[in-house]
Subunit: 261 residues, 2 copies
DNA sequence: CGTTGGATCTCGGAA
DNA sequence: TTCCGAGGTCCAACG
């Protein structure tokens, strides 16, 4: 059977349903009054209350309260779920190693329980974040300014990776820090740190980049910038360029291309 | 009615159930073949497949595939859910402002649908992270070393907040950076940044702290440290002290106290 | 494996 | 409201 639903199952019925669901690699849901203990990276306990329990075929284990996007307790994929009955109560246990973590759910009463084998072969297509922004700037450098030429991406320095490195029309070195969302003071400080790498005479970045006697410009590239960051960037001589990450799905492109065939 | 479950509801039945669930501020779950579009901070699309849809009474909207802990699509609390029927298909829409975001779910076929009004008054108690560690060190400074005296917490500097500031037995200034998990190189760099604030003669932190001619010690406090970070800390003269965040629940204490009454 | 860094991060607290 | 940092962050990419 592809799925099963039980209304107010008793302890044994719920046990059988979960067992069957696990065996069939199904999505299992229980709406139950339960008490939860977690032990692992941290430690938590949650007294009895009605919650939605989800066990996924990949081993993920979620307990959702009626508020918030995030589960109140969970276990990551590849965790192992065990089911037991003690004293006419259902116990669900999920554990994993590295790190060692254990979740124990004591189920007092279940309003309904279900399992269902999901057919889902689609993958989400997502666009509109830092990576897309970088791709776009590499392809359309004029979005930064006329004459800008990117020379490197993910350029490694002592203080981390510079998102994009390039040169302006006059050959000056340009250090670009990208943010897909509103930029804060941290982004400005990050650029300052990169620039300090170049200022340090011990480093021979400049020679490597053939920009020994050139000016070095630090640019913050983001859709917008907050007031503090704006102030700081002006004070520190960091330029701000407003660029919004492209929101374009591959499928959209395909569709467009198909239309033009 | 406190809850309702429908097996293979048709479009109108599912519509009525969702409407009723929203009205009653219930947790709503649907296991449906659906297609999803999201527009907002980013942009996404997900073709038809069977997924678990959850609508919470706080306005949160989740769509879970059979893998991962995180939902494939979601809307945060306080979003508004709208339900519609078009051409014998159910449409769920969740939207919010600031930022403007919209999630649209086209439901082709529903295996089962439910709503239930949850009674859950319990709140999770969680222990074992940075805050607990800070509390513990302020209370038991000898865990750092004999003679250590914390003088400030969340001490503000140009480069951010120092977790704990204090003095050693000889009156030297101590800068403590806490990490509840294994510390990496970033933690060491963070301390270096704080120390550079003190070295900068423009700042008068030293005078404020009455430690003008004292040594300044940087300490990384964490349960453990990775190899890279260990190397860097030794090179930079940052000391490492192993402290594990306490895993103690308030309730445990209460229980203990109750027992002793 | 462990490490690194982004995320529609989420969530909570403070200004 | 915005901002900022912690998180059992999760997650994917990379060494």
């Amino acid at each position: 059977m592809k799925y099963k639903i039980l209304e107010k199952p008793n302890c044994e019925e719920a046990y059988d349903l979960v067992k069957e669901g696990l065996c069939k690699k199904a999505m299992i849901t229980l709406f139950s009054c339960c008490k939860i203990i977690y032990e692992g990276r941290a430690l938590s306990q949650l007294d009895f209350g009605e919650r939605l329990i989800i066990i996924k075929p990949d081993g993920s284990f979620l307990v959702h309260q009626e508020k918030k996007v995030e589960p109140v307790n969970w276990q990551p994929p590849k965790s192992r779920t065990k089911v037991n009955v003690h004293d006419n109560e259902l116990f669900l246990e999920s554990y994993r190693r590295t790190p060692k973590e254990r979740l124990e759910v004591e189920v007092k009463k279940t309003l309904f329980a279900s399992y269902s084998v999901a057919k889902d072969y689609a993958e989400i297509e997502l666009a509109g974040y830092e990576k897309d922004m970088g791709d776009m700037i590499m392809k359309k450098p004029y979005l930064i300014e006329e004459g800008f030429k990117p020379t490197a991406r993910e350029y490694s320095t002592e203080h981390g990776f510079i998102d994009i490195l390039g040169k302006d029309y006059d050959g000056n070195l340009m250090v670009l820090e990208l943010k897909a969302r509103k930029a804060g003071t941290n982004a400005v400080k990050q650029i300052k740190r990169y620039l300090s790498d170049f200022e340090n005479p011990e480093n021979d970045y400049l020679k490597d980049l053939g920009a020994e006697k050139q000016k070095i410009r630090g640019l913050l590239v983001a859709p917008s910038i907050n007031e503090d960051a704006k102030e700081l960037s002006e004070k520190e001589g960091i330029e701000f360029v407003s660029v919004t990450p492209p929101k374009e799905l591959k499928n959209d492109k395909k569709v467009t291309l198909d239309i033009f065939k």
